[in-house]
Amino acid sequence: MGAHLQSDAVLLRAEHLGRSVPGKILVADATFDVHRGETLAIVGPSGSGKTSLLRLLNRLDEPTSGTEFLDGADYRQLAPPELRRRVGMVMQRPYLFPGTVAENLRFGPRQRGEEMPDDQVDKLLAGVGLVGYAARNVAYLSGGEAQRVSFARTLANAPEVLLLDEPTSALDDDAKAEVEGLMQKVVRERGLTCVLVTHDSAQAARLAKRALLLEAGRIVRDGPVGEVPGA
């Protein structure tokens, strides 16, 4: 991902983004830019607000302060389903819906009334190394396979920004390396803009050039991966 040439255009801009719940500040005053084609890593200790910040970027949670601009437009002006199609998310656990792999891949487009043709399903599966898996029941997939289906399902929406929430942390070492390599390849090929949450500094260094360090919900460092402690 880091090898991809970056454009200077800002695709996503968080401005004073914050979220607090009674008695606790989850994210405070987060301001940063993500450039088109860039992969930004968010690192920090457990409970520092990494996932909370990521969930604000596709408005899965409501910010209590600040806002975000997606390609120059305030994201509060966008319908949430449309925003989430454009800012896709891969979660820590795959949460596949009961049924076949193909049904899972068709879920996103179906929300907009689009039916994804078989050849497109096959193409997406080939991209994540799962040729011939379309008709398989998701109940019988391994952890690594399930996470790859989850990744392909997010790609089926053709997002402009990809939010990756510790996508390999629930996998064993072999599957982890496999899924990480695959994500790196797909992101590079498609020139996707990524925001990656990880607690693994080596992974941050492999996948991103720039990192944000979060502590107690606040961004305390923003810079090249090698210069950000913990990244």
């Binding site: 949430p80 989430r84 979660m91 879920f107």
Partner: protein, 262 residues
């Protein structure tokens, strides 16, 4: 045995209530041995139930000669009380009291009104209030089951719901599978009652009609009528309740607001 010890009807009734309550307490003790604590809830429910039913019996005695329209006030009060009782089963769910009361009013209220207008339920207060209260009580139970199940389903599937939202689904579609499960589960008692009618149980209403001299076939048919009305009012209540709650667990920006920490 009790009849040989107690000769007055009131004393006999109290003795029978004490024995029946003792049976319930034995179950509580058995549950306690397995680490399940129902003591407080059951004691409060039994004392409340006894006081309430005796109070209503006394009021009914006074209302025997009251004009028929007073039934409306009694039934409306019952609907509000049912809504409050049911809402307690939906801890943490937004606007549970309003949703419960509105759903029971829609489900039981509309069936009572329609059936009274069609002549299926007689208008005298001595018929309308007891039959109406049966429909309201069953609608309340169904509503409690529906909300309780919906809450559990949503809390157990937060990850799946967030995933559906993150893939561009709207709030309603994201919780649709859990609305359906809750609706179906809430109707199991009503369906089983209809299915087992006459085989597993002979309901109290039919027994009462037989004791008061009604023809057995008419008593049997009317019992079926009551159970069919119970199913209709319970089903409608559950349908309205789950559909209303479906929108309340989502924020205007299509975010799931019912979460484990709530």
């Amino acid at each position: 045995m009790l009849k040989t010890l107690f000769h007055g009807q009131l004393q006999l009734g109290l003795a029978q209530a004490a024995v029946a309550a003792l049976a319930a307490l034995l179950v509580v003790l058995a549950a306690r041995r397995r680490g399940i604590h129902l003591e407080k809830e059951l004691m409060i429910a039994m004392v409340r139930g006894l006081v309430q039913i005796v109070a209503v019996g006394s009021i009914l005695l006074l209302l025997l000669h009251a004009p028929d329209w007073t039934s409306v006030f009694l039934l409306v009060s019952m609907i509000v009380a049912a809504g409050a009782t049911s809402a307690r089963r939906a801890k943490g769910m937004p606007e549970a009291f309003r949703v419960s009361t509105y759903s029971i009013a829609c489900g039981a209220g509309s069936v009572i009104a329609l059936m009274t207008w069609l002549g299926v339920i007689d208008t005298p207060i001595t018929t309308l209030v007891p039959v109406g209260s049966m429909l309201i009580a069953n609608a309340m139970n169904t509503n409690s089951l529906a909300l309780n199940r919906f809450r559990s389903e949503v809390l157990a599937h937060v990850g799946e719901i967030d995933t559906a939202l993150a893939l561009g689904a709207d709030g309603r579609s994201s919780v649709a599978p859990y609305v359906q499960t809750s609706f179906e589960a809430s109707l199991i008692p009503a369906i089983d009652s209809l299915r087992s009618l006459g085989i597993v149980w002979i309901p109290g209403l039919m027994a009462g009609m037989l004791l008061s001299g009604a023809r057995p076939v008419y008593a049997a048919i009317y019992q079926f009528v009551v159970l069919a009305m119970i199913f209709a009012s319970s089903g409608l209540t559950s349908l309205v309740s789950t559909l209303l709650m479906r929108t309340r667990v989502m924020s205007p920006a299509e975010q799931l607001v019912l979460r484990p920490e709530n």
